[in-house]
């Protein structure tokens, strides 16, 4: 899967989780940029991303995630 395809699918997950069709995430997007992205929503988001890509994040990746770009890197490294 290309990085662009990963982002397309990620974007749909974000729109769905935050119930916001106008949402567009990019490499540099962080929690501060997305209204409603608090700790509780973070849990739901991670679960939804794992479901979408049929993978499980390692804990060490979750704790060091800086932005959506890094999330996409991990997804691609997991074989997507």
């Amino acid at each position: 899967m290309t990085r662009q395809q990963v982002f397309e699918r990620l974007n749909r997950v974000f729109q769905d989780v935050f119930d916001n069709e106008a949402l567009a995430v990019g490499d540099a997007t962080t929690a501060a940029d997305v209204p409603g992205w608090d700790s509780l929503m973070h849990i739901r988001l991670m679960g939804a991303v794992e479901d979408e890509f049929d993978m499980v994040f390692d804990m060490k990746d979750v704790v060091s995630l800086q932005n959506v770009g890094e999330m996409a890197d991990i997804i691609m490294a997991k074989g997507h």
Binding site: L40, I43, G47, M59, V62
Partner: protein
């Protein structure tokens, strides 16, 4: 829809537990409001309740703790006495919390038991060695159960079972704990919330009361009308027959919980009964309060069964192997639960997971209730055959006993006084002590009435208490169980009261009707006995008087045994 306030005191993150619990409660007819303790503050909130929790005034408190919240843990090599001390200390900490909750909120408390540890330091030895954590959890849970058995408003949420059912290795999710402080895998929270909702729904009577069964390929293999009784699969001759035997036993065991059984089957009645008489069968015709075997649509039968049992259709669970019948009943939208049973070997599992018959309160009367419903349904079917109602009443061969309150019956008199809403003139509630004081007060005439008929004993069904004052007898309490509506019991009670009043030289009876949202059926009660209305408030409360000299006995059908 009823509103209930649920306080969730967590030893871990509770937000998603509440979100999902809300869904399951709404589905069962309860609209919840939540209070959630600050993270991990379950013990402090219970023992030193913050103002916000006091103001919230919960209807239910749920303590969401897990192994992560244990104060201490045993270690291999530890002496048994030391571990026992540890258990004592842990229980003291928990008991202090439960007692504080009971005193402060006086409402049901639901407590998680402890899930099995997801690791076993000593391997299999962990299960029995005093120093094993697995062993410790079993011991601790055993103590929780003893507390539950001794405290009526305390309920165990059995996550020990649930974790096993879900799969312990999927349930335990160390990452979810260390990252988000979840006590269990987020994916397990729906199962958790569903199981928890069963307790709350049951506490508020939102569980099911009756199990309505299809017959062919549901209670036995085959179609009795086509295959004949001898062609049915039931019993120990074949593997399939054994599956149906086990299922019949499972269904039959529900009677002991007070669950009422009924049949809803497309069959000739005689074929249905022949199937239920199969020599290898466990369930018999007499296990069912109503057997509805005909060619009517099943949704209509369900409505008729609900009527015969005097239950709402939403109190029924309907079990049928045929997807078309299930769909028909769902489409009818009557509110009956229709579990998705497909393969006979999974029927028990599907029903058991449903939580339809979650048993929070269990009394000796529950075990007898299935019989009582059957007797009632028989009376109703008799009723249908009689040309007129008097002939029906006569056929019942009713015998009554009407006597002053007796200590033996005071608990039942108290129970009836506090739960009767419809046939209740004044809806006054009294404790057992107050009723006893009334019985001992010479100014009072207190009577209870029992009623038996040829189908069985209805027990104590009516309570009357009246106070003599200046030559008049004021009827403070008059109520009757709706189980014996239109049986002439109130006439027999009035006769007994009038006779006792006359014997005391009383000249006048004074009746009161206090209107509530539920007691409309008795608003003309005194008028029907010839009382004159002497006062009425704009709210609909009224006062009635009758000169005793004008009273004529009215009981016609009940043979009353005097004291």
């Amino acid at each position: 829809m009823i509103d209930k306030k649920v306080a969730v005191l967590g030893g871990s993150t509770t937000q998603d537990v509440c979100s999902l619990l809300e869904l399951f409660l709404l589905d069962g007819g309860i609209r919840p409001q939540f209070y959630q303790s600050e993270f991990g503050q379950y013990w402090q909130d219970a023992v030193f309740p913050p103002q916000a929790l006091c103001d919230f005034a919960p209807d239910v408190v749920f303590v969401h703790t897990s192994l992560r919240n244990l104060a201490t843990r045993p270690a291999p090599g530890m002496a048994a006495a030391e571990v026992t001390q540890m258990l004592d200390d842990e229980m003291a900490r928990l008991t202090q919390m439960w007692q504080a909750l009971a005193e402060q909120f006086d409402c049901p408390v639901i407590q998680n038991n402890f899930e099995p540890p997801f690791y076993r330091l000593m391997g299999n030895r962990d299960a029995w060695d005093a120093g094993g954590l697995t062993h410790y959890v079993h011991q601790l849970n055993g103590r929780l159960y003893k507390y539950a058995a001794a405290h009526p408003s305390f309920y165990i949420h059995d996550i020990h079972y649930l974790a096993a059912e879900y799969g312990l290795s999927r349930w335990a999710d160390p990452a979810a704990w260390h990252l988000y402080k979840y006590a269990l895998a987020p994916a397990a929270i729906p199962a958790f919330a569903a199981n928890l909702s069963h307790i709350i729904l049951s506490l508020y009577g939102r569980n099911k009361k009756a199990l309505v069964m299809d017959l062919d390929n549901t209670l036995w293999g085959g179609v009795v009308g086509d295959d004949g009784v001898e062609g049915l699969e039931i019993g120990h001759e074949t593997p399939m027959g054994e599956v149906f035997s086990e299922f019949q036993q499972y269904v039959k065991d529900h009677r002991r919980l007070g669950v009422v059984l009924a049949v809803n089957s497309k069959n000739q009645p005689e074929n249905a009964l022949a199937g239920l008489a199969h020599p290898e069968g466990t369930l018999r015709e007499e296990d069912f309060a109503v057997v509805c075997a005909n060619w009517q649509p099943k949704d209509r039968n369900l409505a008729a069964i609900a009527d015969a049992l005097n239950l709402g259709v939403d109190a029924l669970a309907f079990v049928d192997d045929n997807p078309a019948e299930r769909e028909l009943v769902r489409q009818a939208g009557l509110g009956a639960a229709v579990p998705e049973v497909t393969r006979p070997e999974e029927y028990i599992h599907v029903l058991d997971q449903s939580g339809f018959f979650e048993t929070t309160v269990f009394s000796a009367e529950d075990a007898a209730r299935a019989d009582m419903y059957r007797q009632n349904a028989q009376r109703q079917s008799q009723q249908a055959q009689f040309a007129d109602y008097d002939a029906f009443l006569q056929s019942l061969a009713m015998r009554g006993a009407i006597r002053p309150f007796e200590p033996l019956y005071l608990p039942r008199i108290t129970q009836l006084t506090n739960k009767s809403n419809q046939f209740n003139l004044t809806t006054r509630r009294y404790t057992e002590n107050e009723l006893q004081a009334m019985a001992e007060n010479p100014a009072f005439i207190c009577l209870y009435g029992k009623l038996e008929d040829r189908f069985g004993d209805n027990g104590v069904v009516s309570v009357v208490a009246a106070e003599a004052e200046a030559g008049a007898l004021h009827i403070r309490l008059w109520l009757m169980s709706c189980r014996v509506l239109k049986r002439g019991m109130e006439q027999a009670m009035m006769d007994a009261l009038a006779a006792r009043a006359a014997a005391r030289g009383i000249k006048q009876l004074v009746g009161y009707y206090y209107k509530t949202a539920k007691n409309q059926m008795v608003q003309d009660f005194y008028a029907e006995f010839g009382f004159q209305k002497v006062a009425e408030t704009p709210e609909g409360d009224s006062e009635w008087r009758l000169e005793l000299s004008a009273y004529r006995p009215q009981n016609r059908w009940i043979k009353v045994e005097e004291a």
